[in-house]
Symmetry: C2
Subunit: 315 residues, 2 copies
Amino acid sequence: MTSTSTASSLHDHHSHVHATPDGIYLISPSGAVADPASLDLAKSRLGELGFKTTVDRSALEVHQRFAGTDKQRLAGIARAIKQPLPIVMATRGGYGLSRLLPLIDWQAAADSNKIFIGQSDFTVFNLALLATTGAISYAGPTAIFDFGNKKMDDLTAALFVETLSEELEILSFEAPDADPVDARGILWGGNLAMVASLLGTPWMPQIDGGILFLEDVGEHPFRIERMLTQLWHSGVLARQNAIVLGRFTDYRLAAHDNGYNLDAVVTWLRATVKVPVITGLPYGHVKIKATLPIGKKVGIATEDGMAHLVLHEHA
Amino acid sequence: MTSTSTASSLHDHHSHVHATPDGIYLISPSGAVADPASLDLAKSRLGELGFKTTVDRSALEVHQRFAGTDKQRLAGIARAIKQPLPIVMATRGGYGLSRLLPLIDWQAAADSNKIFIGQSDFTVFNLALLATTGAISYAGPTAIFDFGNKKMDDLTAALFVETLSEELEILSFEAPDADPVDARGILWGGNLAMVASLLGTPWMPQIDGGILFLEDVGEHPFRIERMLTQLWHSGVLARQNAIVLGRFTDYRLAAHDNGYNLDAVVTWLRATVKVPVITGLPYGHVKIKATLPIGKKVGIATEDGMAHLVLHEHA
């Protein structure tokens, strides 16, 4: 994977400065933070990258498996919307946002113009915000699993900084198995289980001609296929201009799978849905992950075994 | 649990005879049969119960994890619809029906007046048939896991025979944790993961005032809650007259669940959805299981720690 930033000399007729938003407010809307030291490490790492950080006062709460009661987590989200720092980042994923969706003030979230970022469980935050307001938010690193990781991935950090500052115009990655495509559309998606969990609900964005990206962790290929089938049967897949697959990791095949695996699922997907499928997106429950603007119109093209996701086109 | 059959003396003014349909056609629409000997045992057991059996010629096929290719399994279903035996039983569940749903002739299935029965993956067959035609089919034992089990449960077998013959009028079971209820409605549901996998698709029945029963296996309580949340957010739960929970089995809690468990999910469900919740239904991935008519109007009432599911009311 390479990240391509157009050299400033090529567009110096544009006078705007790419300033990185420099403050991050950390919240825990999903699972409890197991190790507060990892959050300290994340704050330190984010500081080295030039971000000042504030941790919401309930970010370290613990109730059952959650980072506090529903009321505490909702209050944390509400405080994040009102406070002055421009970026709101989830400390981690887990499970917990689904049941909060009807109780979040989405219009206030959109009106705040905050840069909301998280992944995994956070997918339903991204998509509910998009469905209700059309506002853009981000899928990308979380404080603990990325910046609080002892072996932080430098490229993940660089992509985070460059994407939020809009310096990164094109995300290029190796995609030897990609179908030919040259399309534009709204980028959306995230964790497949969370995307599928919104089908039939008011929180599912209705995106035509979109570029849908998906990843998952700990899901056997038959579950991945079942969730893709639900998206297929509901008409979602056929309405997209491209399906971009990130990493599907940490599942275990059994002897009785008898040759059925993730490749078989992708083969079935291609035979079933007449939409270009691009594999290889550096995104998922893995160390190297892109920062992706959900709800933004982007482009995608493949050429010579590479895929190019055009995240930002200067006017 | 007790099964209550109204003694014939109490309604001998009805002249109709409760004849058990006596022939079973066995198909494998989902996972491959791993051990053909278990199917032989099932045939023997079903024979002792008075059923003659015919095994579809592709029921023992194996393709990847499936009981044959999609084409083979579809052909098996089509043959089952056309052949003369009155009951069509799945040999087992697994995974595989989801992607076949658009390719099954549902009207032919309904017009055949066959008694279709299966469980788990078969839930989507039950519900798609109901959604497209309104026809009744059954959730209940499968050949291999119930009748082919070395320790077959006699009550499961008795309930199967008595329900299909409509001798069983009321299924009573211990439900000490049931909300008070006295309601009637269409009985529907089955495996929770399979029910949720139909949300947003044309195969999801639109049932108002129904009695929704659910079970699952190998799903952590947070996944059970997430699927219930999807049913809640989609408006399905609020439209039911009762939610009846069978057995949720074979999951493992972790230390970080920290007190979160299935009881916590049921507590949350009751606080969230204003519909009576009845627990204790003898149904699920367990040996003792009722045979349940999906799509049939039934009654449910609770009294003194017992729940009574009225399956058949004589006219």
